[in-house]
């Protein structure tokens, strides 16, 4: 080869030329060649070769390869180079030992001109197939790597179809082995190149920026700074050298693709792995990004679990890992470190690859927003979103939304105005149950996609379901409605919730009216939507129009037979129509389908109490406790519990306020919730008592409180007040200051006829939650018994204002009026009570939690 000759002569000029060749300074090579010629004229042949080479390479650097239209121009532009190289071929070339290189370069030249057959001929002349592995100089290494690459590409482009199947297979094998050799040699070349150039220039691979801002600021432990490496004159050439060249890059990426094309999926995967296992170089950064992404793609798209084989386990597994470059001279060096992570199955490998790809892609993203960088920015953005999309696909299945969250959060830095990233971020936050954060992101997403109703609907749902900001949710629903008719249902739900929450009669009536209109329209829009029918039915139920409510719940059930909230509402509607036994039947049937549904169990227990069957009710409640343990205990011990069927449980009046996973503390969240006073009280209590916060999210514990209190109620019915007190004690261990606990304590005192204590308990309950009508009514009744009818009247009137449809309040009010001697008013009250009683459900309709599925 050329260099052997050089080394024997060892003139200064030749050494210089060699170094210029390996660094790609072609103009300098041409200049030096003149010197060489003048120095020793017998080097004519060598000089021809060098000039030809330099012409060829510099032409290819300036003109892009491959494009077909360029072939004509390339022929013209390269004619000079071809002449020189042909000159170098003759006998003197043989003698000088450069004929082989000349043939190889000629083949490259032919390839650049689109002459694939002549190119292949040149390779035959060069006897490329019979080369022995030995140490090579940098330049020779590159020539050789490119030669294999070009040969592979030529074989691929070859137009003549092979005559037989056998021939085709033979050609495929040759092509594949060319690409494989090319990729091995190419990587080796780049590694060698790094070593050689690394010794001269600085070894900082991430350098390259110029803006000197250096705003170092403390943030946790690390500070960020825009590095200010000097953009010296060398940087420009350095930049060029970092590229490996289109031919090599194509060959590296082409190798596995060709393998897949010929149906050798496993070999393709293995090829990717070998390339990724090679030690990275400065030039391979972007290539590695492509390769990691592509391997992940292949694993996700084409390899299902059963045919997967972990990397580097087959055949020479251990030795390829450790042996490295020891024996084979033409193989790239591999990563080797102790305690390497080596994937054992498909998921591990895919996620690992994507994490690496993400780190690589994120690093190259462009933050500059000015227009001249637009193309670069979009390219980098495309790369990084491709990785995010794959990461999403690979991780969501395993419930790793938290990981996605973090990725998207980092992505915001360079995703100004990128609607896809923002939307995905919002969705991932919602999926991770970070409600208020999700809402903020969705707001941005709403802005970025002005025609898409989805973010509006999601925001609206968040407000209704988790953040308890119904008014805001209604706003979003109305925005969604402007974009699409599906918003109608959400407008209806919002109005309904507003109606339930408002205390002023006029407000309430107005909201009810709007809700009814909206829901009717929602049903008109989509006649097959069980949810719309359900809410319409609920709306009629709230308006005390039971026949309509029953009709619509039947529609809803016809559209979806197995829908727990529908069945729940249906049962309540039956109790409101004086058909409690049928209702119990419905609930029992429903429980066959949803055995762990605490809601339905709760209704069942109440129905059994209502039917004076306290013993069975006791069994039901005990079953509820067992179910609670089964469903939630794993969750509370910190383990991510994935396969419970029922995530929702009993979720009475206010308990939805603690569904936010963000708020592990009792005190931090739920500012929006109903009872600020409760909040304040609990703070006071925490300083006083030995109350300790239970671990885990709050909701399950609130559910347990509900169950204990229900159990206490049942015990009172079977006349065991001590057991009831024990239950209350259990409940107050969890959270001492719930108004419901205070109310229940009052009930026990009433049972024991300890009126003063009962009054105090009820007063506490009302202080904690002034809208708790049951406590208000009980307080009124207690006042009456204690001989304070005026106070009783006040309390009961308040209660009646809040809940005008409750017959018990009116009955109690009647008795109070009677004792005050106002018989007309008393009669009115009793009449109202009588009128309401038949249509009063066992539990209020509002006890069914919001549902969106």
């Amino acid at each position: 080869m050329a260099n052997r000759n050089m080394r024997s002569n060892t003139t200064k000029v030749e050494a210089l030329i060699e170094s210029c060749r390996s660094e790609g300074k072609w103009q300098r090579v041409i200049d030096l060649t003149d010197e060489l010629k003048t120095g020793s004229p017998q080097n004519e042949c060598l000089a021809n070769f060098l000039v030809g080479e330099a012409r060829l390479e510099s032409y290819l650097e300036e003109n892009a390869l491959v494009a077909e239209s360029n072939f004509g121009r390339a022929k013209a532009g390269l004619s000079e180079a071809r002449r020189y190289l042909n000159l170098a071929l003759g006998e003197c070339g043989q003698k000088a030992g450069i004929a082989l290189d000349a043939y190889l370069l000629l083949a490259k030249l032919c390839f650049a001109c689109g002459e694939y057959e002549p190119s292949l001929d040149n390779f035959i002349k060069a006897e490329l197939n019979t080369l022995a592995e030995k140490e090579l100089t940098l330049r020779s290494l590159k020539i050789l790597a490119e030669s294999y690459a070009i040969k592979g590409l030529c074989l691929e482009h070859q137009t003549s179809k092979p005559s037989s199947k056998f021939k085709k297979a033979e050609k495929d094998t040759e092509m594949i082995s060319c690409f494989e050799r090319a990729s091995d040699l190419g990587l080796l070349y780049l590694q060698e190149y790094d070593i050689v150039s690394g010794s001269s220039s600085s070894n900082n691979s991430t350098a390259g920026s110029t803006l000197n801002v250096n705003a170092s600021v403390q943030q946790s432990n690390s500070s960020f700074a825009i590095s200010s490496t000097i953009p010296a004159s060398g940087a420009a050439t350095h930049e060029v050298n970092r590229r490996m060249g289109a031919i090599l890059e194509t060959a590296l990426q082409r190798a596995p693709i060709v393998l897949i094309k010929t149906g050798k999926l496993q070999e393709a995967v293995e090829r990717y792995r070998i390339m990724l296992n090679a030690i990275e170089t400065r030039a391979t950064q972007s290539l590695r990004l492509t390769l990691t992404r592509q391997l992940a793609e292949v694993l996700l798209r084409g390899v299902s679990g059963t045919i997967y084989a972990p990397p580097f386990t087959s055949k020479s597994g251990g030795s390829t890992l450790r042996g490295g470059a020891s024996k084979k001279l033409w193989k790239p060096r591999k990563y080797q470190a102790r305690q390497q992570f080596s994937p054992r199955n498909q998921q591990e490998e895919v996620i690992l690859l994507l994490l690496i790809a993400e780190a690589l892609a994120v690093r190259d993203t462009v933050l500059s927003q000015s227009p001249e960088f637009k193309q670069a920015r979009q390219h980098a953005m495309g790369n990084v979103t491709a990785v995010y999309d794959l990461l999403t696909l690979a991780t969501v299945r395993w419930g790793l939304v938290q990981l996605l969250n973090e990725s998207f959060e980092k992505a915001l830095k360079f995703s100004f105005g990128e609607q896809h990233v923002w939307r995905q971020y919002g969705l991932s936050l919602m999926a991770a149950e970070k409600h208020s954060h999700a809402l903020r992101v969705l707001q941005e997403s709403i802005k970025l996609t002005p025609s898409d109703p989805l973010p509006c609907l999601l925001a609206s749902r968040l407000c209704y379901e988790s953040l308890e900001t119904v008014k805001q949710g209604l706003d979003y629903a109305q925005q969604a409605l402007k974009r699409e008719i599906k918003g109608q249902l959400f407008v209806g739900i919002g109005q309904q919730q507003l109606a339930i929450q408002s205390n002023l009669r006029s407000d309430r009536d107005a909201c009810h009216k709007l809700a009814l209109e909206a829901l009717e329209r929602a049903v008109q829009n989509d006649g097959h939507d069980h949810l719309a029918e359900y809410y319409l039915s609920l709306q009629y139920a709230l308006l005390n129009q039971l026949p309509e409510a029953l009709a619509h719940i039947r529609f809803a059930l016809a559209l979806r037979m197995e829908h727990a909230p529908c069945l729940h509402l249906f049962a309540l509607l039956l109790t409101a129509s004086r058909r409690p036994r049928e209702a119990l039947g419905v609930v029992e049937d429903a429980l066959h389908e949803f055995p762990d549904n605490l809601q339905l169990l709760h209704v069942k227990a109440h129905l059994q109490l209502h039917l004076e069957d306290a013993e069975t009710a006791l069994a039901t409640v005990q079953h509820m406790l067992a179910v609670w343990r089964e469903v939630y205990e794993a969750q509370l011990t910190g383990e991510e519990e994935k396969h419970s069927d029922t995530k929702s449980g009993v979720h009475l009046v206010h308990s939805s306020q603690m569904s936010d996973k963000d708020s592990n503390s009792v005190y931090a969240a739920s500012l929006a919730a109903v009872s600020r006073v409760e909040h304040a009280l609990s703070e006071a209590a925490s300083s006083l008592s030995s109350f300790t916060q239970r671990p885990g999210p709050r909701r399950p514990w609130m559910l347990q409180i509900e169950i204990w209190l229900l159990l206490a109620d049942v015990y009172l019915r079977i006349e065991q007040p001590n057991e009831a007190l024990n239950c209350i004690h259990e409940a107050s261990q969890i959270y001492p200051l719930s108004h419901q606990i205070m109310y229940m304590r009052g009930q026990v005192h009433v049972y024991l006829e300890q009126w003063r204590d009962a009054k105090q308990c009820y007063l506490n309950a009302v202080a904690a939650n002034p809208n708790h009508t049951e406590a208000l009514r009980a307080l009124g009744e207690t006042h009456l018994i204690l001989g304070e009818p005026r106070l009783a009247e006040k309390m009961l009137k308040d209660a009646a204002k809040l809940d005008p449809n409750c017959p018990r309040i009116w009955f109690a009010l009647g008795k109070v009026m009677e004792s005050l001697g106002d018989f007309y008013a008393a009669a009115d009250c009793f009449a109202t009570s009588l009128q309401l009683e038949p249509s009063c459900p066992v539990l209020p309709f509002t006890s069914i939690p919001l549902v969106f599925e």
Partner: protein
Amino acid sequence: MAELVRDWLADYQRTRGQPAESEAFVVEHETDPEIAEAIFTIFNERQRNEDLVHDICQQLLCFYRSPEVTLHKFPLQFIPVLIYTYLHAVSAGDKKASRGVETLLICIYNGEVSTDDGGQKVVVFRMPILAQTSVYHEMKNLPLTDLRRWEENCNRELKWGPHQRVETVNAQNRMRILTTLLFCYNQHVSQTQKSSLLHLCRVTSQLVNQGFTTKSGHGHRMSYGSDPATGATFPKPSSPRIPLSSSFLIELVHAIYFAMFNGYGTIAIQTLDDIHNRATYEMYTELILVTSAVRNSLHANPSGQPNDGPMGLSVALTPATNTVTTSVSKSMITNASFRTKKLPDDIPIQVQDLTMQQNPQQLASVIEEAEPGAKESPSTKESSGTRERQGNRRKPPQRKFDKHTQRNSLLQLQSELNSNSNAEQPPPPSDMLPMQTLSLINENGSNSFSIDSDLNDGLGVVAGSVALPSINSNTNSVTSSEVLTKSFDSSIELAPLGHSNSNGGKLAEHGLVE
């Protein structure tokens, strides 16, 4: 078709119990692609061949239980179509008709969640993290922030299973069982016949679209008012929507994704759109995440289209040299321009500063007592002062200094506002005020670390001293300005880059807190 299947059924019945013949059957079965096709057809036209469906299910069950591996795997390719048949029947309230299919599904489920020796099958994998070197990367060339990410998840394991065996299917466990079955189908999907992928796509579209396309059935709705009590006569819609869970559909997306890149690109993309529409209708956030990720990767993306090449892969050359000239790229700021740097060791000092500020004895409010008229809130002064000093110690470049002055001016603005509002207040009626101020500030200072505690304190203060509104507003503003400075500090690295967006967001957030 029916003939073919009948022969197939009969053949197998005949060969049972005769080892020689059954082996021949197995071999023949393996090489015959038509029978699967015929079975798919029968399922598509199941109304006409109900008894045949039942027989097929029984035979598939026998296959599944057979020790022959090829026979054992054979039924797995029908899982999607079986699921559709079953769910269709269930949603129409016709559970009896689907008994055969249900039994088959339960048996396959129980088989798939168990190991060969009767235990429960669990798929475990370790969560890979970048902090540990792997066969694909080394530490030195990746940014530190990425390396440290999820470090705490080292050795965390993710699991599929164990799954309980089931005896009956009800509404509560149905979706879970079917999701598990689909997961198993996905594990085997690359070994099934390619043609079964076509049926997968078709069946999936039917599954998610049923009940959505037909816009009939409004007429009878108008009459409900007249006779609502006997509304039970309401005619059922012929094919109601099929309830589907999010995780079930996610498994389906995985299956469809496979089909998309293995020969059925066009129809699979269509099916994916169907799933996406269903996802947005149901508002399943996780599912929408996945479907929009896949859809996004399909247009204008380096990931490539299904018909770009094998598995959508193609050569993607780095455009750097051709498009962006080096001179331009020099001034371009990329994410790599940010370098993580170890801070000098003065961090603990800074924390100390803050704690000192908390310390009641050192509190600058003593000065306040000396000159009660001073309007600038003491802890603001203190905090900005300390920060200034730190800044000097680290010799900040000009830009950073600008930032400081800007921040200070902001603070000044705020304190001016405060002082204005204070000035308008009538002078305090008693000598109590300075003392109270002191105590309030003490309380505040001791807690001024987190926003939460600030708020709580604030609340407490509101409750405690309604009579002194001016002081309240004063202390509150102190804490909020404190927060303001903090937010500036933590987000300052973004500020020079025109990303006032995120900054503004943070500020707005704090503004809201305030």
